[in-house]
């Protein structure tokens, strides 16, 4: 015991357990998990975080998945500059108002003042579109669909929160241009479906699909489609959005083309993005009081092999077997490590890898060796099963799929429980107080929208459910006027 304690202090704090429970203090629990599972490091700049390897790996996997999808669909990647001249940023009125309060400005290089301040991109419409104006001449140049993976900066006033509200974050932003509104509409629908797939297939998370209200849409867009995640504390988090920009940017940036009849037309545009916020959503949703829980699809280490022995004599045989299994699994394409550190007890190792979210532990002890088997211990539900050495390879991928499925189902159940139907403003308010999301009727006016926020102490309309139409006699929960939309109402990050 003394020995291990000593090692612990040497290794820093990462092996200590969490001191608060997720149910009791959600925000402190999150702060602890981010540090103890080595997901984030803070810097001296508030809101600027180091994305550590374990979490950056997640982003790489998400990137790979989405990048393949959009490339197969004909989108090309490029890289536009980080800096946007002030005059560009100011060209589209609504966009200006939406973004300028949060812009970080470069005003100096070395010791010299710049002639014109440069905005660090909070989003890149205003640097893409002057180029689009040059590139698009004819209907033959359309559709034009370009994406970039990059960092953006939004100096928000609200308290920063790693991944969820960071001042710098990573994302992809796609910008496409079409001849018709219909094509642009199809694009945003398709992309939102891709985003839903990312959440489902990579993060093992169900999301709500909907449309933002006029008030909540992207600054400068005709409308915004969204995927919303509902977290265990009853708060929603916008998960990824796709905007139909309409023709306002085309007008502001003079993007036009000659159609087949040699007539000048303004095209229809879209923009769409998913960011590293999604990593935070996944951590918040699946993790537990022991630490990080992740789908094996995005885990840097999918399985850790822990040899267990008491006598030195056993050690050699067990280590040898462990290495054999490691080799076999690596050849099988699994991301596996062995933890054969000698100064640490098995219990200590179990805790460490549970904290760090390794989805599967493979234990091999003396009795296991005798019986030619290992023990699989799942991180997500603690289930153990004995697996014959000769079955390990075929079993492991199946177990990973089961883990992914059961994480998804568990999160789906949470989502279902969090949503309650509300007939009137009291029921909405009660739902919010109980840390839930209300599904309710709304008359479509901003007045009602504002009042709902006021009455609920800050909950807002998260999105309009596009494919549900209120009953004919349905009334708005706030005004009592005829309902126009079914909406979700909740507090939101």
């Amino acid at each position: 015991m003394t020995k291990n304690k000593h090692k612990e202090s040497q290794k820093g704090k990462s092996q200590e357990g969490l001191t608060v429970k997720k149910e009791e203090n959600f925000s402190e629990w999150y702060t602890q998990i981010l540090q103890k599972a080595e997901l984030i490091e803070y810097t001296s700049v508030s809101g600027a975080y180091i994305i550590r390897p374990r979490t950056y790996f997640i982003w790489e996997k998400v990137k790979e998945f989405f990048d393949k999808k959009i490339k197969e669909d004909g989108v090309r990647n490029a890289m536009f500059p980080l800096f946007i001249p002030k005059s560009n940023l100011m060209k589209e009125q609504e966009h200006v108002e939406g973004f300028t309060p949060e812009v970080a400005w470069v005003t100096k290089s070395g010791n010299s003042e710049l002639k014109e301040p440069l905005a660090i991109r909070p989003t890149s419409e205003t640097i893409f579109y002057p180029a689009y104006s040059k590139w698009i001449r004819s209907h033959r140049d359309l559709p034009l669909r370009i994406n970039q993976w990059c960092n953006v900066v939004r100096w928000e006033f609200k308290n920063p929160m790693p991944f969820i509200r960071a001042r710098e974050f990573l994302w992809q932003e796609g910008h496409s241009v079409f001849e018709t509104k219909e094509e642009a509409g199809n694009e945003v629908n398709k992309i939102r479906d891709f985003y839903e797939e990312i959440y489902r297939e990579m993060y093992a998370l169900p999301v709500i699909k909907g449309k933002k209200t006029e008030k909540e849409k992207f600054a400068g867009a005709d409308y915004s489609l969204t995927t919303e995640a509902i977290l265990p504390n009853g708060r929603a988090a916008q998960g990824a959005t796709a905007h139909l920009l309409g023709q306002s940017f085309a007008n502001a940036f003079d993007i036009s083309y000659m159609d087949k009849n040699e007539e000048k037309q303004y095209p229809w545009q879209t923009s769409w993005g998913i960011s590293t916020r999604s990593i935070g959503i996944a951590i918040l949703m699946h993790s537990d009081d022991k630490g990080l829980v992740l789908s094996p699809r995005i885990a840097e280490t999918q399985a850790v092999i822990v040899p267990i022995f008491k006598k030195g004599a056993e050690k050699e045989d067990i280590d040898k077997k462990a290495k054999e299994i490691e080799k076999e699994l690596k050849e099988n394409g699994n991301r596996v490590i062995i933890d054969d550190r000698e100064d640490y007890s098995p219990g200590y190792k179990f805790n460490e890898w549970e904290m760090k979210g390794v989805p599967l532990r493979i234990e091999i002890g003396p009795k296991d060796l005798e019986k030619e088997q290992a023990v699989f211990a799942r991180r997500d539900n603690g289930e153990k099963q004995e697996v014959g050495f000769n079955e390990i390879k075929e079993k492991i991928d199946k177990v990973f799929e089961e883990v992914h499925e059961s994480l998804y189902k568990k999160a789906e159940k949470v989502l279902e429980e969090k949503i309650v139907n509300a007939e009137n403003i009291e029921e909405v308010t009660n739902a919010i107080e109980e840390k839930k999301i209300a599904k309710a009727y709304w008359d479509g006016t901003q007045e009602s929208e504002d009042w709902i926020k006021e009455k609920t102490g800050g909950a807002k309309i998260l999105c309009i459910v596009e494919d549900e139409i209120p009953e004919e006699k349905g009334k708005c929960v706030y005004s009592g006027n005829p309902a126009k939309h079914v909406v979700y109402i909740g507090k939101s990050y």
Copy 2:
């Protein structure tokens, strides 16, 4: 003719040929190729360029290649913040002096002044190492090897030049920490070999390997290893560097560990990077008076199939065959397109794809169809060969490898011709005047180094040849004192 001309004007300028020759006006030739082959778009910020899809694709391929290499070698990726507080940047003295004159400073967010100005990373030592100081406690935490792929900003005073000297560029920067100097030394050697491999295997380019002089090394490093490319105009371009940082950053940022004997030690560090500058080097080296020339390994489109027909009746059969071949090649993993645009002549299409650097054109005309063959036309040397339809798939990858090999060999020949041995300062000066690189003896003093620059009108010591030692009686080309090193001297970007 009239019809095509009309289309040309609609499509913008990209289909016009180059109006200057590479040999006659290297810099104007480069400017034209960048725009006409759609490689770069200028923005209103000097030195900030849009990397268009065709060139960004190159970067993605390079990234894939190097990323796989370093990951297999145990390096992990992460993402550190864009912003470095002024006080961090100022911690290592030599580093400060090297970088602060070129730093872009963020001083405002929205309308508010920031308390402390934030540097946009020109390189990330000073944001990595405060974190390393927290993470490294014990010898068990070493080696620590982390890499990031990101953008950096250096507001240089020299005239910007796309890819070669851009104010924002993309790169990877690796930062590793070891217990011993030997391990750190092995790291920089290994990484420089990886960089050489990138140039050879991706860009089809030979580079010179060497060590920077004290004057030219990375600000704050013990020494810097480099790969230098020699361009056809006789100028060198530093291609990628790996720095042995020694212990100076460990001291400045208080990175220390307890060794096996429980004694506090300072570790040995390295940092290393390759940037999008490498794309510019490849363009400058291989391209010709018809436009871009690229290795098929990094070409977004490896082959374009051009159906050729005069009568409408032929069209259908040829188009059908072209589509069959396209399908077959795509299944074979080749990046192929068909250019079946009806309003453009074959000649127009040939010019366009030659400009855009597609390594192979596959022509199918009526006679080819009859003879069940296509014509392969190589972009790099114009060679044509007839290939039976049933051989296309097996032939194409072979041809791509031949193209890569012959690009490499051609560049190797240029490199050999550009290097001349110089016995004294006149020979050095003559070499520089003839747009060549001098290989010469140097006494190792900065005085001689400065004078060589002075006498040659700006040529500098590009690097020390590490594995060549001067003859015993060898004399420095400038001072006549005993030579210490064999060096390359040349003008440089």
